[in-house]
Symmetry: D2
């Protein structure tokens, strides 16, 4: 069956505003908020639009604790520019943090910045969430009909209401009760007056890891945030697992584990390996840089570089798009050079260090300007030469077009664009900030690669196949699987209203 | 019975953070937020710690509207320093605003800044509140036990939950249902997607007025905010009344009136006349400046100025504390001069225009510095002369002591301090930001005026009697009465836990 | 000769940007910059557009000192909002400060904010200037031709160049040499590495006083800044005097005095008494409040209030425009009431405390908005009654028109406007920020009071005569005289280019 | 002769505060300041402490122009965060910009931010300077003795004074006269009311290029700033050349060239090739990336990587320090792999994109924190393996020590550190921000490489020889030469006081 163009403009209602984000939590450390600050710094690539920390200060007299909060729009560096916020305001021995990356439009809504901090019957509660719930409308309607008011437009707020409304006695059962009602993708830190929880959806869509430093417990979206604070990586927060850290954990050195669901099929987001996670992190049980090199290798096997036309011709330059395709390009080159001595790994694009990651800046116009100021070509490397450019993905095509335009000014003989992912034809409903189907260039072209090639204006264009992509990632466990919906439209977790809409789209 | 010292340190729990504040609302005006901005400006004296506006923009397509919000710590002038906020962000044809004045400590909590804006089953909801609820703990416990989460520490948030949870069908009944559950003092504006409501507690503790400008409807804490936008004063929002303005009101030019309770005894805050309201406002049906002059007159009758010891002596200077006692001093002087030609009205204290109202700045140290920089004496007026200083009230005594110290540097012969209110011996639980009983100087001295006089260091000290105070205010309606609890400890509206505590304090 | 309309549009070139300002200096105090901060606070009414402080920190090792500086646009309160600037940045034992009030347009130029701080052959030099030089063009051309570069557009910078270029050996002679070259109005503080100087023009146009607190020496534009820091007023800085404070002064407790010119005729700015100086200050050797009351008294003698038409009529209300005419109104009322028992002193205008002084805010539109939000009427006082309004001056007429408009909304029977100054018909070239002649309403009407009355829309209008104004000010010294040029066009100090222009205007 | 330790602590007086910086200028473009903004963005790596732009707006009537200025501490992105500054404030058709990088301590002095803008006899003048003058004290003393005042502590201000004081008639001769008096390193843009000048010192120490876009003329420190605005590279501003662009240039399309000195020996800063310039720039007539690869190649020839101990051992990992050694590492690897198949190019260090360039952040403590948050290791690449790290230089050693510490946590078998420059043993007096000699690790160890190796804690340490470094750079012109003083203490341009001091140090 040929996959047809997918129109989902009217389908935005279920899409909540927080998309890929970074979460972090620490328990039992006198510098809890400072560690969280560094952790958020390491997770900055997962969201540079807003950042926040909630710390918990155990009260000297009573049982209950004092929760402190600071959050704002901006990079971690600027939100916490005043050192005193960490030392004087965010006092306490446990803390959770969040770094946010939102879709266009709602991005400026200060109310939606996480962590959220509320008060309920049993005390304080704070929450940081990475991922996206998929039964938001159902839950929101249900809660509203019960007389609930909402102060944000996020799905994360729903969880807080579920917890507060749960009729279970203790907090663990309240959480198990609450998470049994939500579907979708979530890696969540929850801070209470005396405990820290980490919970991950049954499919393990987003990464989530658990570590320790001295006698402190740490949770983080990626392991790179453990490294920055010299924490030891212990293990993943397992899909479907709820981990509790309390006073007893400090004594025993052990976390307590609960299950929010039976063990099911894992559906890790394969795009975390392609682009989102940092190469120095371990996610889904494997080092990202290793997977990314394998991806590059497989790309070389599927689509090797061209050869020289004659002896006089300069060697073919294999260039990376810094820094997102650095590792994959190395993998591509090392494999390709085995059979093709005509190629040379070159630095053909220079990136300015003073502007952020393209993918991450919401708003179309801003993205355009960033690309203009972000890269420059090394003309001597590109000029009058065949060039292989290894890039990680093509979403709207806007960035790629600007990049190709830029490279062409340096007058290469040919541009061969090799992409380390299959064509992206469908939006993500599990937390990745892809645009609507209609904005995706591969969907616009009905996955017709030749049409895309022509639009981008390159000599050749090759996308890694889904098969080779899956071959690049670890399959150690029979339960382990991946979500590839953005390439295949095969959505593993049910999404409200999607079936009905797909029916309308594809059954005619 | 001698009134004994009153200790209420442990009684802070029921005291919520917003105290005297200004509220404002406008319906059916293309410049709704600009009018609100000016209105808040005129109400700035009711709270200079934070300010905010929520505007409602009727959507072009659907039924529901878009709510816009901007609020922050600071004066109205600085919160809306960027003009574009009013024109580009706060678009819409209706709006409500709030200017806040909070007690020490919680003042910095940005979460507590009003108006509050939430979303519930039937759409958007925003609220501005002046006053204080007195069954907060009861309601909060009840709501928490039903699984409600709280994002602020204010009593105002409770009202939003009650509305959302009401099982009544339409909004009017939801409001009547909700307000039947709360006790205390409240003048509240509520904005929905297509209506504006004003509601006032059955006792009419805080002022609240209703006006019109062209075809627009306006609510405001005081009439001075009607004046600034050239609106016409129509009438009070009556105690126990709920006024609704909707599309139909625009056509008919009429508001719709409902009652949240039967008509009972009015208990207007008499301190609004003494100090809080602006002299150019009409509150509780009477011009403030008129009442304040009567108060001055009565003070002169009770405690006339001294006479000269001999012919050579300079005339006795009657001086006001600018600007809070200006009007009362005029009343005092005009009465006193009838029988004592030895006196002269003088300007003996100069006030800097670049610092705010003493009473209003939270934090003890800040208050001290403000006084130092706020007044200066006119030495030629004070030096070597008997001085009568008319002041409005003595709370902690800190400000008065600094003022006396300042005046003494100009070396008067005598200082006679006349106060236009009785001794303040008990906190306010209805929205006035008085400190705890233990901090009140008159309570510390068991209302022993001689002791207070000695502590302040003045030649003589006189407080207006409660009888003469009540004689100064209008009594046109048999239902009309006043709350004088801060002078008498006679709290007209029940306060949670107060009875029990009073019992412990006074029955031994 | 009838004084004709005066056109000076093309005459702006000689008018430098800093106009009336406040200067302050302190020597030998561990908290020099804190005292200066308070001093500037007290002088805030002399300029609310920008503020700055330079402090001098004697170096531990060498002879030379370290100069620290902080200045910015805004009120003193906001420029030094961060306390640490005073304690951590502006360290030292001597300091000078400046608060600025500039004409429209150049007001935003940050470069022009004082104090200026430079380095020259003999070390550091900082300067604060109140007044206006009148041979600016001559000096600027001369200096430019010698190869001097200018970093500001102020006349004050010229003085620094003159000092640095002086061929005299020691600093005193350099200063005497420099000030012998400038004409105009100036009250200046100069700070060097080890000395503090105060210098005032030979005519003493602007006020300047000298005081002491403990063993510290203080200079200030007005005495109210001595009061705020509890300093003792010693004497005026005399016209034509240069006072030096150095290490030896600390030992002897004595200042050293030099003369920059022979003793000539004093030409104090009479407008300082009418409006600019604070009533609690002593300037030109007399208490401002005393002079201002005498002005009010003389106004009452020249133009008493009306009488009642019949017995039933309410007493005529005499109202002040707060706070600028408070003192004069008291003087007016006390004199008038002697012969007219039909009048009553009333508070008919209420002023908001959260906006600045009208006169002081540059930019026409801003001024308009400020008036709208600044005053409100007390309707009960004004309604259906004859009103006498005592105001200090009418410049453009804009403010007066808005005020009259406002009062009329309260529907008085009549408005009698009494002005405590003669008609302002000519600009000030000595530091007062009056607009060009063409903008002055009295000049527009060729001093025809009836025409002005009609334009303002009042029942009657009366300006104090120049004779009675002069009768109100002290004449203790035969040398003492006043500049009344703004009322008489009689400019006592020569102004570049003025003669030529006047010739063109008046000789035809 | 053995080069002994060099103590220059007392020698700081001649060192002025601006060090390596970026300059930019554009003439005849309606978006002059926007182009400058983008140009500064591309030059951000040359100074991230402060940024500024002066634009020139030709007046509609007269001959003279209006100069506008905006400058502040911070990155280009934040200084011009408000778009309106570029469009509404910095209007005009010509502009110059500056991005600053200063030494510790003086960095916070706002006065020193460039461009400087002044007014002198012939009109406006603005200046941006990269480099360092070496006869600063002589000039400053001379100027001060002539009565000049200084508002900054920079050497750049001296040039403005020289121009204004020159007795030459026209601006070109004034400039030739002025630059004949200064020695040292300078690449300078000067803007006048109707002309733009570029001038470079006779030795061409700092880079400076000239380009065109449409009919506009552009000057820039590096060619990467031409690329960002799509300007065409025309040629270098030649050493000793003064280029003038005026109205006539616009017509003819030609610049006008003058000489400030006879053609002498070029002394290009070789460190621009090693570290400072961007790899995509062309400086001193050669592509930086080409030179940097040659440097890497030569390093490999001098110091090849180790071989495997046995077959089982993993391949030796050659890793770059991102991004400063990326290009050189590629050159090193490509050469080394020819003879050693045991090596593999790896990405072993990941750099965060949200913090700036280490070298560039003044203040020791800040530098330390930046390194901690800037890099992370890819553990799988480093663990249990021999590692060759190619780095560009070792200055204090602080950064290198932290880096080695970080790598060691990933537990490599060996760390071989290869440095693409010789040991830095002596400060730069021509504009590079090296610390004093005593802080240089190589100077501390008397260039004893074994001692440094031990201190850093690496298996082996190798510095590129000066000979091989010189072999890597272009020698196309006999006049072309390089300054290598930081490696050799052979200072090609005379420095005030240096000889005397060197004598004291080395002749004993």
């Amino acid at each position: 069956m040929k996959i047809k163009k997918f129109k989902n403009k009217s389908f935005n209602s279920t899409k909540s505003i927080h998309s890929n984000c970074g979460v972090f939590g620490v328990y039992n450390n006198p510098d809890a908020s400072v560690l969280t600050y560094y952790g958020l710094h390491a997770l900055q690539h997962r969201g540079q639009e807003a950042a926040g920390i909630v710390s918990c200060e155990p009260e000297h007299k009573g049982i209950k604790s004092k929760f402190n909060i600071h959050k704002d729009l901006g990079l971690v560096l600027s939100v916490f520019a005043d050192d005193k916020i960490l030392t004087d305001v965010l006092k306490g021995t446990s803390a959770i943090g969040h770094t946010r990356y939102s879709t266009t439009g709602s991005g400026d809504n200060k109310n939606n910045i996480q962590p959220f901090k509320v008060n309920y019957k049993d005390g304080n509660l704070a929450l940081s969430h990475n991922g996206n719930l998929t039964n938001t409308n159902f839950l929101r309607n249900k809660l509203q009909n019960e007389g609930t008011i909402f102060q944000t437009t996020t799905d994360s707020e729903l969880i807080l209401h579920l917890i507060a409304k749960s009729r279970e006695e203790d907090i663990v059962n309240k959480l198990l009760d609450s998470f049994s009602q939500v579907t979708g993708a979530f890696s969540i830190c929850i801070l209470t007056d005396d405990k820290l929880f980490a919970v991950r959806d049954p499919h393990g869509v987003r990464p989530f890891c658990f570590g320790k430093v001295d006698n402190s417990f740490v949770f983080s979206s990626e392991t790179c945030a453990l490294d920055i604070i010299n924490a030891e990586y212990i293990r993943e927060v397992n899909p479907g697992e709820l981990i509790m850290i309390d006073r007893e954990s400090v004594t025993t050195g052990k976390e307590k584990s609960f299950r929010i669901s039976e063990v099911g099929q894992y559906k890790h987001c394969i795009f975390e390996y392609i682009y989102f996670s940092r190469p120095d992190s371990t996610v889904f049980g494997e080092k990202v840089d290793k997977v990314r090199r394998k991806i590059g290798k497989n790309l070389a096997l599927e689509s090797p570089p061209p050869v020289k036309d004659n002896e006089e011709e300069k060697k073919i330059g294999v260039i990376n798009v810094p820094d997102s395709s650095n590792t994959a390009t190395l993998g591509y080159f090392n494999e390709a050079v085995k059979t093709n001595k005509d190629i040379k790994h070159e630095i053909g694009l220079i990136r300015s260090h003073y502007v952020g990651r393209t993918f991450i800046q919401p708003g179309k116009d801003k993205r355009k300007m960033k690309v203009k100021t972000k890269f420059n070509t090394v003309k001597g490397v590109i000029n009058n030469r065949k060039i292989v450019v290894v890039d990680d993905s093509i979403v709207r095509g806007t960035t790629s077009k600007l990049l190709v335009e830029l490279i062409k000014k340096a007058e290469p003989k040919e541009i061969h664009l090799k992409v380390t992912s299959p064509p992206i034809i469908s939006p993500c409903y599990y937390g990745m900030d892809f645009p609507s189907a209609e904005e995706l260039i591969a969907n616009q072209h009905d996955s017709n690669v030749e049409g895309i090639r022509e639009e981008l204006g390159v000599t050749s264009l090759f996308y890694l196949s889904t098969e080779k992509l899956l071959d690049s990632v670890p399959y150690s466990d029979p339960k382990t699987g991946y979500c590839t919906a953005c390439f295949t439209r095969d959505y593993p977790i049910q999404i409200e209203g999607l079936e009905k809409m797909k029916k309308e789209q594809f059954d005619d």
